[in-house]
């Protein structure tokens, strides 16, 4: 089901968490609310779920006004950052909770729980308690619990924030596959731009309680509306007063080639990529090269190079 939040404002005391925010989420899409901490993304998610009440504005789920509905009547699946497992219940009873509240027949609950535990690969852990699970397993349990009630929309608040990098990457890919299988409208809150770009169909960039930009991941990465969005979405460097992506810089050691003359200051190798710190006209900038290109150029600190911005036009942004 689609979600529509229009003109939502939420204040906590003197702090404005959401300032007249409007966000539309299409049926069946996976939308990321992306922003730094304090940008209002989690508050917006909680307002959609009914866990926070907006001071003004309207929230519609599936076309019906849900602004005044308590969370228990919105039929949303919510996954908390720290999973909020029911500690006194086994994994199976955690997953069954929503169904037992709805007083479904025992046999049906059992079958559905089994099915969900298989979906999240926890069938062997049904009788364990949350304290006996790893972070990633708890995360998947929380997801199964939220999915059990066949929610209209699935809301995930920094779902991978508390996991280590490796598990986070695996779960991210798995979530994307899961979404492609289930097609449930999903909103994921994250502060990690890579995560948002990887899993989402649409990204809503938020800053200071307002929407900065909305679009497909590639679209907002290539065409950021302002300097802040560009900086937030990926690495940037400054070439003759223009903000550009360091991977759009081309280096050449041919003295005759065109481009800005620069001196290599230092090199940092990170596996396949090499970061080259440069100085041109007394200004510092850096370029991101693949390591094989850096090797072919045989760059050394102190070497003279020419720097050129690749691509159709330089990304100039008025600051």
């Amino acid at each position: 089901m689609s979600i529509s939040a229009r003109g939502v404002t939420k204040r906590f005391g003197s702090f404005t968490a959401l300032d007249n925010v409007t966000v539309e989420v299409e049926t069946g899409s996976l939308t990321a609310l992306l922003g730094p901490s304090g940008s209002g993304k989690s508050t917006l998610l909680r307002v959609i779920a009914g866990l926070d009440t907006p001071d003004s504005g309207v929230v519609e789920i599936g076309g019906t006004d849900a602004t005044r509905l308590p969370p228990q009547r919105r039929n949303v699946g919510f996954v908390f950052q720290h999973y909020a497992p029911f500690k006194h219940m086994t994994v199976a009873r955690n997953v069954a909770f929503g169904l037992s509240i709805r007083k479904r027949p025992k046999g049906e609950i059992k079958a559905r729980v089994q099915e969900l535990l298989e979906l999240v690969h926890l069938e062997k852990f049904a009788d364990r308690y949350p304290a006996q699970l790893s972070g990633g397993q708890r995360q998947r349990m929380a997801l199964a619990r939220a999915l059990a009630v066949e929610p209209n929309v699935l809301l995930l608040d920094e779902p991978f924030g508390a996991l280590d990098a490796q598990v986070r990457k695996e779960l991210r890919a798995w979530l994307r596959r899961l979404h492609d299988e289930l097609h449930v409208t999903t909103v994921i809150v994250t502060h990690d731009q890579e995560e948002a770009m990887e899993v989402a169909d649409e990204v809503v960039v938020m800053s200071d309680g307002a929407v900065a930009q909305v679009g497909a991941p590639q679209e907002i990465y290539d065409n950021p509306v302002n300097e802040w969005v560009m900086t937030f979405l990926g690495p940037v460097t400054n070439l003759q007063g223009a903000l550009i992506r360091p991977h759009d810089l081309e280096l050449s050691t041919e003295p005759s080639s065109d481009g800005l003359p620069a001196t290599v200051v230092s090199l940092t190798r990170l596996g396949f990529e090499t970061r080259v710190a440069l100085e041109a006209d007394g200004q510092e900038l850096w370029a991101q090269l693949t390591s094989d290109v850096a090797d072919r150029l045989d760059l050394r600190p102190g070497a003279s190079v020419r720097v050129r911005h690749r691509g159709p036009a330089m990304q100039t942004i008025a600051s």
Partner: protein, 274 residues
């Protein structure tokens, strides 16, 4: 460890502190209990049995059971409610409520008893109105229950509130998003999460209620066979030189207290871990 603290002075200090603490406990706590025990059984078990099964003693036990029972039930309900209010809600006067809950610890039970008499005494406005409508509070069970509730008031709240604070409200919010009503959330999520701490608080409140003397002494009127609790019974028998009964009942009270404390100790770790 003794080698790592070579100064003999500190060792002497440590031992002397230990000695003082143990001696203190011995003289004030253990010795009196042993003496009560000895006095109780100085003529064997039969006089104790006789004393405890006399109709007056039996009645006093019954009154204590009723008063303590009702007071504990009331304090359990109020305690959980007040703890939820204090931890989960922000409202004007919250800090005042927080402070007032501890008042019974600070105020002498005798003062509590006198205060209740001033409100509910048959010559006071409120008490007079109630008396005219056939409800007697002072010199009867209701007053004794109210007095006992008052002295046990903070125990459940103070046992439950820190655990509520610690578990946070995310589990409750998760339950709401899964369709659970406030009452279902309370019975299925909140209550099981605090059950250890709650049981601990209830046992403490029960022990306190069983042993209450001062407030009850004032409001009960000490009518033998009617409003006499077991603590009042001990005192009355003692004053009437019936030491066998007094010591037997005192012994019974002490046993109940020790059992309560043992139960409370067992519940304590569960209360903090969950």
């Amino acid at each position: 460890m003794a080698d790592s603290t070579p100064q003999s002075g500190s060792r002497v200090t440590r031992y002397s502190i230990r000695f003082v603490v143990l001696a203190y406990l011995l003289v004030l706590l253990v010795l009196p209990l042993i003496l009560v025990l000895r006095r109780t059984f100085e003529h064997g078990i039969n006089p104790v049995f006789t004393a405890l099964t006399s109709s007056e003693a039996a009645h006093a036990f019954q009154v204590t059971a009723i008063v303590a029972g009702v007071a504990v039930i009331a304090n359990t309900i109020f305690g959980v409610g007040a703890a939820l209010l204090l931890v989960r809600h922000r409202f004007p006067g919250r800090r005042l409520l927080d402070a007032v809950i501890d008042l019974p610890v600070a105020v002498s039970p005798v003062v509590v008893g006198l205060a209740l008499t001033l409100i509910y005494g048959s010559r006071e406005p409120v008490g007079g109105w109630l008396t005219r409508h056939g409800i007697q509070i002072i010199f009867s069970l209701p007053g004794m229950v109210v007095a006992t509730i008052f002295v046990g008031l903070p125990l459940v709240v103070r046992a439950v509130a820190p655990v509520l604070e610690e578990i946070g409200d995310e589990q409750e919010q998760a339950a709401y998003t899964l369709g659970s009503s406030p009452w279902q959330t309370f019975t299925r999520i909140t209550l099981p999460s605090i059950r250890g701490a709650l049981a601990y608080g209830v046992v403490l409140a029960l022990a306190r209620s069983l042993g209450e003397y001062g407030a009850v002494a004032v409001v009960s009127g000490r009518v033998v066979g009617q409003t006499q609790t077991i603590t009042l019974f001990v005192e009355e028998r003692f004053d009437n030189f019936d030491q066998a009964s007094a010591y037997s009942a005192a012994f019974a009270l002490a046993v109940l207290a020790v059992i309560s404390l043992l139960v409370a100790r067992r519940l304590r770790p569960a209360g903090t871990a969950r």
